[in-house]
Each structure stands twice: as structure tokens, then as C-alpha cells.
């Protein structure tokens, strides 16, 4: 594993200055009881870049993602070792697992979207997008301000034109693809610097998938995006860097074009050429 860590660190030195590391893991281990599902992962996620995590089912990529916003620990028996450093507004990295750091505060700064759309069924389209504002530190902003934030988030999620006349309707009336973009709008409405996507198109049809992919591509302008995906073509289409995981270990991480054209590890090559997984 040290080899990978070195590789990742080396590329840190050569990368363009505007892509500072926003988030990185140090010797991260994740466990469910005795099952060791993420092993000693050192990985860096750059600001305003899309990092894809690929690998076969059960390789620990979703668990790794859930360690980044401390969602892993919401499962009973789940444990985390190692560090996850998140750069603050001033660029100083802080370990999100340090004593005294509130998981809730971490989750407000690291948004997450899941495999299946999860709109709140009792809330309208507008109130779904505003849901995160309700628990923001300053409390719910005034109505007019909320309307502005909701419109802005929906525009950034490329959903505004489709739902602007249905803001008061139930969010469950939207199509699956619209619901997923609504969840992205909800996650980015509070302007977190990092957005985690856990196989966001796994339950969507090809057209909705394409819309979400275009959106992810656009979101890199303002956010650090980490996307877990089963679909290698998707990783190739939307990401700047790709990490390949196998059996809980990080095998290789490289710029996406490099990883898919000239992988450095035989196991990566076997996976991307479809020999297993």
C-alpha cells in the first residue's frame, strides 16, 4: 500500500496549483464488527475535480465513501480507524474524526446523494430542496431568501425548467431521474464544498443517466465531487481522476485517461478489460 500512497503523493507535487486537495484520507480502515471492508486507504480528492471510485461489488467503495461524511458510523457495529482530513474555508485540513468534531457539522459540509432517489415524500419539491436549510446553523432563512436559494439550487441541478411550475406539489410525483436531480439540488442547496455520489445513476434509465452525468460534469466548477460507480464508461466520461479498489484495498489511483489507457497495476488492467468483476 505504501507504493500507492507514494504514487498519489507524487502526483500531488506535479498537479496544477488551482486544484488544491480538499479532502484526503490517511491510513483509513473501516470495519463492520470483525469484517474489515476498507484497508489502509490513502487517497486524495482535489478541489473542483471529479474523482471516481470503481471496483467490483463488495470491494468497499461505498463504505469508503460513507467514511468521508461519517455516515459509516450510523450503522451499528461500524468502526473507523485512520484519518479523513477535510480542508476548511481557509484551506487548513482538519481530521473529521478528531474528538470534538461533530458528525452533523461534517455532514453539512460534505453532501451526499444515494443510489436510489430519496425525496422526502411528505414535502413539496420546494421544501425538499430547502430541507437542509432547516438545520443550518443560522436556522431557516426568511421565505424570500429560501425561494432564491431553492431556485438557484434547482438551476444548478439542471432541474429548474422542469419543476418551476410544480414547486408546491409533492416531490414523489416527479420521475425517477427528476427525483435524483432533486436530491442533488437538495444536497448542494446548502453549498457544501464536497459532494459524494454513491452510484447515483444505478436506478435510472439511460436518458436520465445522461442528464445526471452532464450535471456531475458541470458541478466540478464549484465543488469537489466523489462518485462511486459500477459503470466504467461512466467513470471515464465524468471523472478527472479514477481510483480502483479491490477487496477493500486501493489498488491504483491515476488521472482517468491514464488509468483507462495504461493502467499501472495488472489487477486494474484485468478489471477494466473485463476479465473479472
Amino acid at each position: 500500500m505504501t507504493e500507492v500512497a507514494t504514487r498519489d503523493a507524487a502526483s500531488t507535487a506535479s498537479r496544477p496549483a488551482e486544484h488544491a486537495a480538499r479532502l484526503f484520507t490517511e491510513s483509513l480502515d473501516a470495519l463492520f464488527g470483525e469484517a474489515h471492508v476498507v484497508r489502509d486507504v490513502n487517497l486524495r480528492f482535489d478541489d473542483r475535480q471529479v474523482t471516481a471510485i470503481i471496483g467490483p461489488s463488495g470491494c468497499g467503495k461505498s463504505t469508503l465513501l460513507r467514511c468521508l461524511n461519517r455516515m459509516h458510523e450510523t450503522v451499528p457495529t461500524a468502526r473507523v480507524r485512520g484519518r479523513v482530513l477535510l480542508a476548511g474555508a481557509d484551506g487548513t485540513p482538519q481530521d473529521v474524526y478528531t474528538r470534538g468534531v461533530d458528525a452533523i457539522a461534517v455532514r453539512r459540509r460534505v453532501g451526499m446523494v444515494f443510489q436510489r432517489p430519496t425525496p422526502f415524500p411528505t414535502l413539496s419539491v420546494r421544501d425538499n430542496v430547502a430541507a437542509g436549510l432547516r438545520v443550518a446553523p443560522g436556522g431557516m432563512p426568511p421565505r424570500r431568501e429560501v425561494d432564491r436559494i431553492v431556485e438557484d439550487a434547482l438551476r444548478r441541478a439542471a432541474l429548474w425548467d422542469e419543476v418551476k411550475d410544480r414547486l408546491r406539489e409533492s416531490a414523489t410525483g416527479l420521475s425517477g431521474g427528476q427525483q435524483q436531480r432533486l436530491c442533488i439540488a437538495r444536497a448542494i442547496a446548502t453549498r457544501p464544498p464536497v459532494l459524494l455520489l454513491d452510484e447515483p445513476t444505478a436506478s435510472l434509465d439511460p436518458i436520465s443517466t445522461q442528464k445526471v452525468e452532464e450535471l456531475v460534469y458541470e458541478l466540478r466548477r464549484e465543488l469537489t465531487v466523489v462518485i462511486v460507480t459500477h459503470n466504467m464508461q461512466q467513470a471515464a466520461r465524468v471523472s478527472d481522476r479514477t481510483a480502483f479498489m479491490l477487496a477493500g484495498e486501493l489498488v491504483e489511483v491515476a488521472p482517468t485517461s491514464t488509468l483507462f489507457t495504461s493502467p499501472g497495476d495488472a489487477r486494474t488492467e484485468a478489471y477494466i478489460t473485463g476479465r473479472f468483476g
Binding site: 461524511n69 455516515m71 450510523t74 451499528p76 452533523i104 457539522a105 455532514r107 453539512r108 453532501g111 451526499m112 444515494f114 436510489r116 430519496t118 422526502f120 415524500p121 411528505t122 430541507a131 437542509g132 432547516r134 438545520v135 443550518a136 409533492s170 414523489t172 410525483g173 416527479l174 420521475s175 436530491c183 437538495r186 444536497a187 446548502t190
Partner: protein, 282 residues
Amino acid sequence: MRTIARRRVVSALMMTLTYVAAAIATLPLLFILFHLVREGAAALGPDFFTSTPRPVGEAGGGMANAIVGTLVVVGIASAVGLPVGVGAGLYLAENRGTRLAWTVRFLSDVLNGLPSIVLGIFAWDLLVRPFGQFSAIAGGMALGAIMIPLVTRATEEMISLVPGSLREAALALGYPRWRTSLTIVLRTALPGIVTGALVAVARVAGETAPLLFTAFGNQFWSTSVTQPIAALPLQIFTYAISPYDEWHAQAWAGALVLIAIVLVISVVSRFVTRARFGTGSD
């Protein structure tokens, strides 16, 4: 071809049997309703809803005090049973695997299985004997104790129907756990919980045994919660075992009103459930 013909015959036969079974299942209710209307309608005038019972031999009189009394006692029961039941159900659903949850669930089932008269005795010992007085409060508490396990179970079941992904989504947005439970999970399960609560209310509205020595009954007008109070089931009981024909007629009328109240509650609960599935699906 012969096999197919035989299958058709068997299918038709079985279909007929299920229709008959379905018809028989609804028959008792229709029969009871029909009988109640026939026996009770005669005594059911405006007087029945506006006056208090009259002595034997005097014509007229009604059960206004018992109708109001039932509302008071059931109101007290709901004030106790609903918050405790919903809170306990939420606790059980949120702490599914723990030992304490298992114990609470088990005890709640035991409480649910207790004969209602036992709860009446318990309420008498706790709330009547020390004060030397029957009271609406004692009756309401006894009924509330019956409601608690019903509401607890309904709440737990409805909450467990809420997908775990909603809870995760709220947590990932930065909702604290308690806020996730109250504003997302409980809110999503609310229509189902309301239905369960109304079913529990309907159930205790018809209970007689727990009221016999708690609310006790009252021939006169009273809305005081510290005094003995009339209730429809009690009034029906008193009148039905009396030897007077006009009281028997009044008992039938009282039963009809009681059933009407329960039916209205049931219909409302159905309506609430329908509203949930009518707008929610995609």
C-alpha cells in the same frame, strides 16, 4: 381439452366458495346493524340526544349525559394513551435490536392481552380507592392503559414501513438523530399512525368493563372529571339488565348511537389512509 374443462369447473367452484365466504364475513355486521336499527330507531328522537335519563314510568328521556360522558372519558384516555403510545412506538422502531426494546415490546404485548376488567380493577385500586370517589379521570386512565399498547404497536409498525433510505438521506443532510426521527420518519408515518390511533379510540369507546368501577356511571348531568360520569356502554349495560321495557328500548338506541360513533371513527380513519396512498405514489 378435458383437463382445461375440469380446471374451469374447479375454478368456478372455488370462486363461488370465496364469494360465499366473503358474504358470510360481512353478514354479522349487517345483521347487527339491521337489528339495532329495528329495535333502537323507535326510541331515537331528538330527545335522546338532548335530555338526561328520566325515572321509570316517565315517558321520554335520553342519554345526552352518557354521550357527552363517553366523549369526556375517551378524551382523557386519548390524552394519556396517544402521546405515550406514539412515543413508545417511536422508541421501539428506532431501537429495534436492543434488549430494552425487546422487553418493552414484550410487556406491551402482555398489556394488550390483559382482560380489560383487570385494568379496571387496577385503576380502581390506584385512582378510586385512595380518593374515596369514582371519577371520569379514573375511567379515562383505565381506557388510556388499554390504548397504550394498541397505539404503540401501530406506531412501531407504521414507522418500520418508512424506508431506511429516508432516514439516511436526512442524516446525510446534517439532521441530528432526534430531528430525523421527529420531522422526517414520524412525519412520513403519520397517516398510518393516525389510522392506528383512531382504531384504538374506536376500540376503547365501546369498552364497558374497565368503566364499571372507575367512571361508575351517572344518571344526572355531569362533566366534572373528578365526579362519577355517565358513559354510553355503562348506560346500555344498566338499561339492558333492568326489567323495564322502555329502558330496553333506550338501551337499543344507545347501542345504535355507540356503533354510529365507532363507524364514523372507522370511516374517518379509512379516509386518512386513502389520502396517504392517493397523493403519495408515483
